[in-house]
Symmetry: C2
Subunit: 417 residues, 2 copies
């Protein structure tokens, strides 16, 4: 892979804000190296290229007027003096990381679903040896920073359950739900399984050299060591609101499913969910109390049909679809041990009833059988509303099930299965 390509994309990632569609169209039309020359004013832009760039913008629905590129050039000019791609590449290398670019075979295929909005590159720290995990085994867990105890609890259960099933948990490295998702995934990765997979990925809105927010420093350091920390903006970049919003599209694109665990009526997590829906990815939402403002955003997604209700790791895994890739044996063992998520517990508590699986006639007959006294077949026929022959046949069936007890030549009462 050409060093010039790496340098060009490194520089462009500082010149352009994330999702600068004009810049991305220019790169698409001229290639990264020529685009950098043009964007920095080192090369005149031909009218053919202006036309081609405008065409690309029009094709993706961005108002692609002729002056879009001219506007872009004005926008990029003030940053040209700040460009130092070699320094940035050296910074990420010093941190044990590297710059991943679309020309690299390890570039995640899943990001190409962002089309023109695909990041220029990813500044990565962590265990990139085998590339990013397959989208099919990647799930995003997102939610509010000011999480409730309920939200933290279910996030821990979901994340641990998914990690132990062999899924990678993606989130945004923020306080609250994000931090809990990363933490539980890291903790669920057993020592024996270490190295067999990436349990968690944090996608940052700031440079990958910064641990932001500061309170998550230890956690983010652990992710950079045992998982992956990545960002489309170069080292030193500050986390701005725009970058937070754009960062969310990367979280959504990397994941087969995006689950919103807790979110207020208006929340950044909903933005991630919308990105996922736009990409045709599955969206899950965890229900909660209708009195909790932190679940209002989840209920909003459920209500408008944008999300599927998920209550445990198994249901999230079902949304992600079957795992085609091989799951390590250790993870399989953990999986079978951890089948008892909250939802499955609720189901398991439901015990089988006497009347389960009975045909209508037998149900009518069972209800007509007295518990504490005996009754005759004629009386049963009248009470149950069944023919006498039907009562005889039904009593034989119920007797086999232990639900009817013969108490004499013509006397019957109810039994207990």
């Amino acid at each position: 892979m050409s060093v010039d390509l790496l340098r060009a994309r490194a520089a462009l990632s500082r010149l352009f804000e994330p999702s600068d569609m004009v810049g991305l169209a220019l790169v698409s039309a001229a290639g990264p190296e020529q685009a950098l020359q043009i964007a920095t004013g080192g090369r005149q832009v031909s009218s053919a290229l202006i036309h081609k760039t405008a065409g690309i913008l029009t094709s993706v629905g961005v108002a692609g007027k002729g002056y879009a590129l001219a506007e872009g050039l004005k926008r990029w000019r003030p940053r040209v003096a700040d460009l130092a791609p070699d320094r940035d590449l050296e910074t990420i290398r010093r941190l044990g990381g590297e710059l991943l670019i679309p020309e690299d075979p390890r570039w995640p295929e899943a990001l190409s679903h962002l089309e023109l909005g695909m990041p220029l590159c990813l500044w990565v720290r962590g265990q990139l040896a085998g590339g990013l995990p397959d989208m099919k085994r990647t799930v995003a867990l997102v939610g509010s920073r000011d999480a409730t105890g309920y939200g933290l609890s279910i996030t821990g259960d979901l994340s641990a359950g998914l990690a132990s099933r062999g899924y990678t948990v993606v989130s945004g490295g923020a306080y609250g739900i994000d931090a809990q998702a990363h933490r539980a995934a890291l903790a669920a990765t057993l020592p024996e399984a270490a190295g067999s997979g990436i349990s968690t990925i944090a996608v940052m809105a700031c440079g990958a050299d910064r641990f932001y927010p500061a309170g998550n420093e230890d956690l983010l350091r652990a992710i950079a060591e045992h998982g992956l920390l990545l960002s489309e903006v170069p080292p030193g970049s500050a986390p701005t609101r725009w970058r937070f919003l754009q960062r969310n599209r990367i979280i959504a694109a990397l994941s087969a499913v995006t689950v919103v665990v807790e979110a207020r009526w208006r929340s950044g997590a909903l933005n991630t969910a919308h990105h996922a829906a736009e990409l045709g990815r599955e969206v899950g939402a965890v229900p909660g109390s209708v009195y909790s403002a932190n679940s209002a955003g989840c209920h909003r997604l459920l209500r408008d049909g944008s999300a599927v209700c998920v209550t445990d790791a198994q249901e999230v895994a079902e949304l992600a679809g079957p795992l085609t890739q091989e799951v390590p044996e250790v993870a399989q063992a953990v999986e079978s041990a951890s089948q008892s998520g909250p939802g499955s517990a609720a189901r398991a508590r439901e015990k089988r009833s006497d009347h389960d699986g009975l045909a209508v006639e037998d149900l009518l007959l069972l209800d007509a059988l007295p518990v504490r006294s005996d009754t005759s077949i004629d009386k049963l026929a009248s009470v149950a509303g069944l023919p006498v022959a039907g009562v005889r046949a039904g009593l034989a069936r119920l007797e086999l099930e232990g639900l009817a007890i013969r108490a004499g030549p013509d006397g019957w009462r109810r039994g207990k299965r």
Copy 2:
């Protein structure tokens, strides 16, 4: 209306179990009076009638073999001796009630959607003067008997909110969610509004003369006095499992929306929801904790797409569609006072942020403005990634909003809206 019709339907409702499709097909083919004569063995059944009955059964998808009617006759025979329609009619009259039959103009149109499964008649106690309320202003609230405090709380909020908006709340008169739904609807009916509408209807699985379960006697008595208590089975009938299941179809058919407030993974309330869905009625489910077994049934409905997520009375009312009928003024006043359900409270707590409604350029600029120091326009252009002219224009807009403060000839900092 013919007394013979009343007597025939009264007798048939004792002879047939609810939803005895063969019996109902016979009534449909021969009319109630002739059907009674045949069902009681007082009249031979012609081969033409056998054919017609079988045809009706086939048309509704019930296996309509030729011997279906013969089987029915055997089933009904044991009950013939128990028939006493005059006594039953006298009983309901003595209780201040009456027998409502499909030939009565007050018969609710909504029940005809049950087609062949429409009840033969309804044994009614209560305020029937103006007939049953329009389906469009009727909502069913159903759920577990062993409700949690959470379930009771939201049921009370929903029911009171709906009743004060002019809706009639239908339920099954059972313990738990049902009882709370009836109670809150009765309580929400202000004295001034009394008589203007029926706040609640209990559909019973036993005879309307019985207050079952006994612990709800006072409540059911109040419903029979101020609302409506109804049943398709005649006075004296016991509540059997079959009758509970069939009763649910009446609850669903009478209501524009069926809301499951709390239900276990397997619950009778889900049966009501399925009836509602089969009738093409709206189904709502209230979300709750994923750790609560009592919400597992609701989440199941949300997950498989059978129900819409509802969190307050307003959302339920939206499902029911706009009220065409006139709402009493008192109810309107209460309505506007009670707009603050749980869901709306969660939304209201969300306050407007500084960056709301800003265009992307202004968002980038706002994030680039320092809070505690001043900065220059050139620096802002580089940090925000905007052209210098764009920064000037943006600062002017943000200054108008109070979000940017001029701190000298070329110095700017952030303001607070």
